[in-house]
């Protein structure tokens, strides 16, 4: 598709529950990025992929967060044992290998942890 798709749009989880977010990058894009945005600002880089390989994961809190991009499947971001501070909008972005810096963002998934 011509747009990055993210599902679900909203997700509510009780503290300690698991949350799984999905991202379908634009067809033909090789790079996928995940960001966390809290309080309408404060974008935090989490992880990037080049195809199915992790490219940079220096932003990931590895003890509870994991992410995958498998062939022929949407990419996923999973949070085990959610905490209140995980409440945020999670954006996925993708880019083409020829212009990898030009990231196209999806509409985001709003995660609310209660």
């Amino acid at each position: 598709g011509e747009e990055v798709a993210q599902t679900p749009k909203h997700l509510v989880r009780g503290e300690g529950q698991k949350a799984k977010l999905y991202c379908a990058p634009i067809k033909g894009h090789s790079y996928v990025f995940w960001y966390q945005q809290v309080l309408k600002n404060e974008f935090k880089f989490l992880i990037s992929f080049q195809n199915e390989n992790v490219f940079d994961e220096t932003g990931m809190p590895k003890e509870r967060f994991s992410a995958k991009c498998l062939p022929n499947s949407p990419c996923s971001l999973e949070i085990q044992a959610t905490k209140l501070e995980d409440s945020a909008v999670y954006f996925c972005a993708s880019s083409h290998f020829r212009r990898a810096y030009e990231q196209y963002f999806g509409p985001g998934t709003r995660l609310t942890v209660t």
Partner: protein, 112 residues
């Protein structure tokens, strides 16, 4: 650690006035990007600057990258109500890694 600060945090202008947001990094950047996020929306890529002292224009928007590659600015001439949104800079610290540290954003409100 690598930080990118952006000022001002908020800016209200009358329609037709100019607007500028500034971005400063604690360390030298490899490149810098600018994004616009409308209220309730997602960031939209505007431009990337790579060269020291680079200036690029897009209609009423002028982007500058400082000589030392530690700061950048976005200037909008004669703002319109369609310019409303939050403008983010995003600094790239290492060439080729495609990891960007976002600034805190400047929220622009344009009063008609």
């Amino acid at each position: 650690g690598q930080q990118v600060m952006q000022i001002p945090q908020y800016q209200h202008v009358q329609e037709g006035e100019d607007f500028t947001t500034y971005c400063n990094s604690s360390t030298t950047l490899s490149n810098i990007q600018w994004y616009k996020q409308r209220p309730g929306g997602h960031p939209v890529f505007l431009i990337q600057l790579v060269k020291s002292g680079e200036v690029k224009k897009q209609k009423r928007l002028t982007f500058q990258f400082g000589e030392a590659k530690k700061n950048s600015s976005l200037h909008i001439t004669a703002t319109q109500t369609t310019d409303v949104g939050t403008y983010f800079c995003a600094g790239g610290f290492t060439s080729g890694t495609y990891k960007y540290i976002f600034g805190t954003g400047t929220r622009l409100k344009v009063l008609a």
